[in-house]
Symmetry: C2
Subunit: 196 residues, 2 copies
Amino acid sequence: MVDDRALEVLFRNARTHNLFSDKPVSDDTLRRIHEIMKWGPTSANCQPMRVVFLRSKEGKEKLAPALSPTNLDKTMKAPVTAIIAFDLRFYEHLPRMFAHNQTAKSWFEGEDKKAHAETTAFRNGSLQGAYFILAARAAGLDCGPMSGFDNAKVDAAFFPDGRFKSNFLVNLGYGEGSALMPRNPRFAFDEVCRIL
Amino acid sequence: MVDDRALEVLFRNARTHNLFSDKPVSDDTLRRIHEIMKWGPTSANCQPMRVVFLRSKEGKEKLAPALSPTNLDKTMKAPVTAIIAFDLRFYEHLPRMFAHNQTAKSWFEGEDKKAHAETTAFRNGSLQGAYFILAARAAGLDCGPMSGFDNAKVDAAFFPDGRFKSNFLVNLGYGEGSALMPRNPRFAFDEVCRIL
């Protein structure tokens, strides 16, 4: 069991932040996110998520044209913006990552498996994206995840060879609580779950 | 920051379990998973995940024909199997769930937005699936998540009206550590992350 303090940091009291303090985010902190999130489970240990952390002015400016107007200003000001992407050819690593079954690569390889490989990359890359958000909170950061951007523009700017696809973005830093929105409601158990 | 003990339970020491003890999983424990995971962030607070917990013999037998041979036996024996699904018409709830912007529903509604709505449901339903796995661990359970099943058969059996789509399955219970596989490797930071 996990104690209330940890659940507050990860889930209950954590909020989506739009405004961050000037405190920079170190390489060590970014590496700590990875050290935590990497243990989250993926199908056949496929680990398709790839991350580009944008911290420099140049990196941010390369992203800017892809952002929706409501996400532009806050993203330019955030200490770091992470592009959460996935590798469409993740299966090339399976002989190493799922070594006890050397046929696993063949489940995804080839033109006729392309849709299945992409679905697997998107599903598991998204699971890893959620592990990433919670790991960032565990590492003391606040997150501002976003879908409001042009994925095709991000892919063209950062992944021109077509192997990686952008999934979503996460602003990272130390949040200024003053700019928080009121918390939105959540579904009750009986609205979204059934026990059979 | 979250302490090491919590990170061990959620990430570092947690393993995918195939074999569970006979100890039953109570309604209270299933409700506790939801109470924790519901706070995880989703785009425009869309919360598309829907869950069917199969605990009865009848529920399990309805699932059986959809399982791959390697997942059949362990799933029939697990105390509970959760079908993690998503609602393709999640946007109908946005006037309540994202009340400060009453136009949000229109971002997803209509034939021409169908692909965008499905991508949003799949991405955010998968994020919530990851919150679900970690919340189950936080509630003291062990998980065995699986993609090895026929999604179309699960959808026909459990969601015949076509509104919900199955995403993945999670066996739940109190794990028997004796049946664990050796732990698979993980990518190093520099293999999957870049800082620009």
